[in-house]
C-alpha cells in the first residue's frame, strides 16, 4: 500500500500536450477519481501511472519508490480495464491465479490466495466457469479479484462502469467502493461521469485539455470551484459576466452591482451561482443579489422544475426549484426578479 505522487507530469504526442504539467498526490488508502470530458488526458495519466505510457517529463512515485522508468510488469499495479479483459481461454479461478503464476508462487499458497479472493468478491461457486458464462457485474468482480490477488501497491480502474446499464452501475460502484475501503488500497479511477465520481470518490481531480484544473472533495468542488470549467462541469452553474470592483463587490457588464463572499483580485471575472440556490420573486430582495429577468421557458424535470430566464443583458440564467414549492407556476414571458444569496455566490476568472 503506498501513496502515489505525480510531479510535473507531461505527455506530448508531437505538438499536442495530452497531459500538461500535472502534479498530484493520491494519499494512501484513498479513492481518487480523475474526471473530465473525452480527450482531457485522464486516461493517459492513468496509463502513465500503470506504466503503459512513458511520460515525456516528470516523475511518478509509489510511496518512496520512484517508478517513472520501471516497466509495467515490475510496477506491482493492479488494473481493471474497460471491458475487463478477462482471459477467455482460462476459467475464473485461473484468471485470478494468473498474476500469482507469473510470480512463481508455490501451489498451496496460490490455491489459498485464489480461494481468498473468490470469497472476497463472493464468487466462490463460479471458480471453474468460463468468463463468457458470467454477467457483466460478475466479470467485473473477477477482474477486480484478479488485480487484487497480487497485492498491488495501487489499484487502477479505467472507466470500470461504462459497459453497464444505469441501474447496475449504481449498484456496482457501491460494491467497488466497499471492496476498496475494505482492502484499504490506494486507488485511482477514471471516469467522464460526474455523478459517479461524486458518489464514490474521496477526492476528485478534474481535468481539462491535459491540465489538472482542481483537486478536492466533491463538496469542495461544488461549493468552491477554482475555474469556470470546474464550475460548469460539476453540476450546473449560472455565470454572470462582469468585473470585480472591490472587496466582495462585483459589477455586471451592464452596470448592475452585485455582491459575493470571498476575496478576489480586481479585474474581469464571472460571478457564479447554482440554479438551485436561486429563486424567482416579485420583488428585489435587499439581503440577496438580484437581477431583473424575463422567463423564457419552463421545463418540468419531475421532482424539479427548471426555469430558463433572460437578463436585460441577454444572459441566460437557470433557476431550479422543487416542483412542490412552485405553486402557481410563473409562465413564460413574465418579468420577475431572480434572487440568490450572497453566501452562494462565488467568482471565477
Amino acid at each position: 500500500m503506498s501513496s502515489v505522487t505525480l510531479t510535473n507530469i507531461r505527455k506530448n504526442y508531437g505538438e499536442l500536450a495530452a497531459v500538461d504539467n500535472v502534479s498530484l498526490e493520491i494519499r494512501e488508502g484513498e479513492l481518487l477519481a480523475l474526471l473530465g470530458p473525452s480527450g482531457c488526458g485522464k486516461t493517459t495519466t492513468l496509463r502513465m501511472i500503470a506504466g503503459f505510457v512513458a511520460p515525456t517529463a516528470g516523475t511518478i512515485r509509489f510511496g518512496d519508490r520512484e517508478v517513472t522508468t520501471v516497466p509495467v510488469h515490475k510496477r506491482n499495479v493492479g488494473m481493471v480495464f474497460q471491458g475487463y479483459a478477462l482471459f477467455p481461454h482460462l476459467s475464473v479461478a485461473k484468471n485470478i491465479e494468473f498474476g500469482l503464476r507469473v510470480r512463481s508462487m508455490d501451489k498451496e499458497r496460490k490455491a489459498k490466495r485464489v480461494a481468498e479472493m473468490l470469497r472476497w468478491v463472493q464468487l466462490d461457486s463460479m471458480a471453474d466457469r468460463s468468463p463468457r458464462a458470467l454477467s457483466g457485474g460478475q466479470q467485473q468482480r473477477v477482474a477486480l479479484a484478479r488485480a487484487m490477488a497480487i497485492e498491488p501497491d495501487v489499484l487502477l480502474l479505467d472507466e470500470p462502469f461504462s459497459a453497464l446499464d444505469a441501474k447496475l452501475r449504481a449498484q456496482l460502484r457501491k460494491e467497488i467502493r466497499d471492496l476498496q475501503q475494505d482492502a484499504g488500497i490506494t486507488s485511482v479511477f477514471v471516469t467522464h461521469d460526474q455523478e459517479e465520481a461524486m458518489a464514490i470518490a474521496d477526492r476528485i481531480g478534474v481535468m481539462n485539455q491535459g491540465k489538472l484544473e482542481q483537486v478536492g472533495s466533491a463538496h469542495d468542488l461544488y461549493k468552491r470551484p477554482a475555474s469556470r470549467f470546474v464550475a460548469g462541469f460539476i453540476g450546473k452553474c449560472n455565470l454572470v459576466e462582469g468585473r470585480v470592483t472591490g472587496e466582495g463587490r462585483f459589477e455586471t457588464s451592464n452596470g448592475r452591482a452585485l455582491r459575493f463572499s470571498g476575496t478576489r483580485a480586481l479585474g474581469p471575472a464571472a460571478l457564479c451561482f447554482r440554479p438551485e440556490h436561486a429563486s424567482l420573486g416579485e420583488q428585489v430582495s435587499p439581503q440577496a443579489n438580484s437581477l431583473p429577468v424575463t422567463i423564457r421557458s419552463v421545463t418540468s424535470l419531475g421532482p424539479l422544475t427548471e426555469f430558463e430566464c433572460v437578463t436585460d443583458n441577454g444572459e441566460i440564467l437557470l433557476v431550479t426549484a422543487a416542483s412542490g414549492d412552485v405553486g402557481l407556476t410563473p409562465a413564460a414571458g413574465k418579468k420577475l426578479s431572480l434572487n440568490w444569496l450572497l453566501d452562494e455566490s462565488f467568482v471565477v476568472e
Binding site: H73, H89, F98
Partner: protein
C-alpha cells in the same frame, strides 16, 4: 402473420434448390464411385468397392496422392512458420509500409491461379538463367509455389484471430507481472491457437487441391493428384475417377470440418 406465408415458402424452396445445385455434383460423384458398371449408367446395376481398389493400384493415382500429401505438408509448415510471425508483427506493431506488406502477403489470393502458375514458372526460369539454380520441375520449386498459395490463408486467419484477441488481454497480463515472453506463451498463443490450427488446415487444403501451379512446375515423370485426375479424364470416364474424386472430397471435407470446430470460418473474412 401465418407461419408459412407464400413468400416464405418460396424463399425456402429457393434455398433448397440452391443447396441441391451446389451439393448435387458432389453427391453424384460420391454415389457414382460405388457403381458396378464400367461405363457410367443410371440407374446402376449394382454396387462395388472395386474402383477404390483399382485406383489405389494405379501408379499415377497412388504416386499422385503421395506427392500431393508431401507437398501439402511442407507447404503448410512453411506457411505457418512465415505467416504466424508475419501476422503478429502486422497486427501488434506499427511500422512504415505495414499496410503495403500486408497486402503483398495477401495478394497471391487475388491472382487467378493459372496466371500465377505461369508467372511463377517464368520467374523460376529467370532465376535459373541468372544463377544456374534450377527451381522449375523440382520438388523444392513446387513446395515454394504451394507455400505461396497457402500463406495468404494463414495471414487472413491468424490476423482475424489476433484482432479478436485484442491487445487489452495482453496489457492485462503485463499489468499482472508477465513479461513479453510470458505474455506471448500464456495469453496470446492460446488465444490464437484456433486460428493457427485453422490456418494449417486451410494451407493444407489450398496446396492439396492446387492444379494450375502444379501443372507448370511439376517435374517429368511426376504427378500430383489433381493433375492425375485431369489426365485420366482426358481418355476415360469410368467410376475409377469418381473413386479418386471421392477420396479427395473426403480429405478436404474432413479438413474443413475440423477447421470449423476451431475457428468460425465466417469470421475470417
Amino acid at each position: 402473420m401465418p407461419r408459412f406465408s407464400p413468400g416464405r415458402y418460396a424463399f425456402s424452396l429457393l434455398v433448397a434448390l440452391i443447396f441441391v445445385f451446389l451439393l448435387g455434383p458432389l453427391l453424384v460423384i460420391i454415389w457414382a464411385s460405388f457403381f458396378a458398371d464400367k461405363i457410367l449408367v443410371f440407374p446402376p446395376s449394382g454396387y462395388t468397392l472395386n474402383w477404390f481398389v483399382r485406383a489405389w493400384g494405379m501408379d499415377e493415382f497412388a504416386d499422385g496422392f503421395l506427392l500431393s500429401l508431401q507437398v501439402a505438408a511442407f507447404a503448410t509448415v512453411i506457411s505457418l512458420a512465415l505467416g504466424v510471425p508475419a501476422a503478429l508483427a502486422i497486427e501488434r506493431f506499427s511500422f512504415p509500409g505495414r499496410e503495403t506488406i500486408r497486402q503483398c502477403l495477401l495478394s497471391p489470393m487475388y491472382v487467378p491461379a493459372i496466371v500465377a502458375g505461369a508467372a511463377v514458372y517464368i520467374y523460376y526460369i529467370q532465376v535459373e538463367i541468372l544463377s544456374g539454380f534450377q527451381l522449375a520441375s523440382t520438388f523444392t520449386g513446387l513446395v515454394l509455389a504451394h507455400s505461396l498459395i497457402a500463406l495468404p490463408w494463414t495471414m487472413r486467419l491468424v490476423c482475424a484471430s489476433l484482432v479478436t484477441a485484442n491487445t487489452t488481454s495482453e496489457e492485462a497480463a503485463r499489468s499482472l507481472g508477465a513479461n513479453a515472453i510470458q505474455t506471448f506463451f500464456l495469453v496470446t498463443l492460446p488465444i490464437i491457437r484456433p486460428g493457427i490450427i485453422a490456418s494449417a488446415m486451410f494451407s493444407f487444403i489450398a496446396s492439396f487441391s492446387d492444379l494450375e501451379k502444379s501443372l507448370f512446375l511439376i517435374g517429368p515423370g511426376k504427378t500430383t493428384l489433381p493433375i492425375a485426375i485431369v489426365n485420366y479424364l482426358e481418355w476415360s470416364l469410368d467410376p475409377t475417377i469418381s473413386a479418386v474424386a471421392t477420396v479427395q472430397i473426403f480429405i478436404i471435407g474432413a479438413g474443413l470440418l475440423i477447421s470449423d470446430r476451431f475457428v468460425k470460418l465466417g469470421k475470417a473474412f
